[in-house]
Amino acid sequence: MSVALRLALLLVVLGCVYLFLAHPYWFPAGASSLSGLIDHQFRIALWVFGALFVVGHLILVWALSKKPHAGGMASQGSWQLEVTWTVAVTIIFFWFNISGDHLWSSMMPPAKHGTEIDVEVTGAQFQWYFRYPGADGAFGKTDAQKFARPDEGNPLGIDPSDPAGRDDIVSTAMIVPVGHAVQLHLRAQDVVHSLFIPAMRFKQDTVPGMEIISHFTPTKIGAYEIACAELCGLGHYRMRAVVRVVSEAEFAAWLKQHGSF
């Protein structure tokens, strides 16, 4: 039994290690200015804690296989050991914890410096809407309860009487120029959703009644899927959208094309 148990544990470890080395599924290729750093941090995390996982199990197996020393009284513990491993794990864990702090601070909303593209994201059961301020650079007022007419092309309820709203562009796909910081204004119409762009390593809940400012900077031209990551009802699983990262010229053209309706 003893042997069987140890073999089983070793087998489990081998299986897990194999699975992670083979990793049939893995991160999608990163496409944002931060994805490189984040992936690096992930690599550290997986290696360090993977190692702890293996070591931990090896120690367990070794302890199981240790023959009892005849006679004498078994140890009831020793402060030296307790202190040693407490200090050890404290160092490992906190080193890891601190090593991630600069990343988190770099993900926080930076001071506005005008060059970024403003996009307002609105989550609604079960559809994403992306609004661009248009030529005047200002978003029109909205009042979903008063003016929202999804079938009449005004799902967000932009106030018709507000001039700033006239040239706003509302799209169901996010179009952004490569290399520009994108400033997202995240909102929700009904329940909590969560804008998840795996390729950008980006996720942010959209909460009704709040406007949350967040940002990312796409660095690769292409189309990337957006998923909803917060349970929002029946259609949660199909609340999908696409972010199309295009060249500056294309973006300008797209704006012009949709600028006026």
């Binding site: 009284m73 078994a74 009831q76 513990g77 020793s78 402060w79 307790e82 978003f139 007022k141 909205t142 009042d143 009644g209 709040m210 406007e211």
Partner: protein, 251 residues
């Protein structure tokens, strides 16, 4: 406190202890079980033991009551501080409407509650004395006066609840409804929760006062009054906390 005493005893030896072989000096009367009644195993159900048990129980009850009211206070302050995103002005505005409290009513209620607390304390003390005398075998006639105090406490307690209902009604007549504004919701929430807890205390007191008819042993009656008085004083204290909160933090 047993904890202290064992610590002193045990930790002379620099080891992790407890787990293993008898390093702990064998000593009778440690641990909780027999603290109340050293060396007298049979009176597990002794008055001391029961009183001790119910006191602990009440202390624990107060712990979770505290947790709840602390949470509600946190919510109140959180909500008071936070505004709502104004769609039109595109800025944060607070929608917290300061509510005008019927101070006269509130102060009378507070007074009533304070009095009830006092009378309950009197009831508790007379019972305590009575018990001491009973232990000596003599109960002087004047000692029969614990029930009046309980009765008065009950009256005052119901008085306070009635008073609170009056407060809510006056607010309602001023068009201040539960739903009309967060400040209202929270006022009703805090006072309502407090009232519910107080009603619980009233039930306990009724039980104690009805002891006669429920054929309670005096001892049980005494214990009921003892622990309920703790609860009652604590609720009185909480009431003033709530009052202070809605007064000073009325936005």
């Amino acid at each position: 406190m047993p904890i202290i005493s064992d610590r002193v005893e045990i930790e002379r030896k620099p080891k992790l202890g407890g787990g293993g072989p008898g390093k702990i000096p064998h000593r009778r009367g440690f641990g909780g079980g027999d603290d109340g009644d050293r060396g007298r195993p049979e009176d597990f159900r002794s008055r001391n033991q029961r009183m001790r048990r119910y006191r602990i129980g009440m202390a624990l009850c107060l712990v979770s009551v505290t947790a709840v009211f602390v949470a509600l206070t946190f919510l109140y302050v959180f909500r008071l501080g936070k505004g709502r995103y104004d769609e039109d002005a595109h800025r944060w505005v607070t929608d917290w409407i300061t509510l005008k409290l019927p101070y006269l009513l509130l102060w009378t209620n507070s007074l009533v509650l304070l009095l009830s607390s006092a009378t309950l304390e009197l009831a508790r003390r007379t019972m305590e004395k009575k018990e001491e005398f009973a232990a000596m075998g003599i109960v002087p006639p004047r000692m029969r006066r614990d029930l009046p105090w309980l009765g008065i406490t009950l009256l005052l307690g119901f008085g306070f609840l009635a008073g609170q209902v009056v407060v809510w009604n006056t607010l309602r007549h001023q068009g201040v409804y539960l739903v009309s504004n967060p400040s209202r919701s929270y006022f009703y929430l805090l006072t309502g929760t407090h009232a519910v807890h107080l009603a619980g205390g009233l039930l306990a007191l009724l039980y104690a006062a009805g002891g006669r008819f429920l054929a309670l042993r005096f001892e049980s009656q005494r214990i009921a009054v003892e622990v309920t008085s703790w609860y009652w004083h604590y609720l009185a204290f909480l009431w003033f906390g709530i009052f202070a909160l809605v007064h000073f933090a009325r936005g």
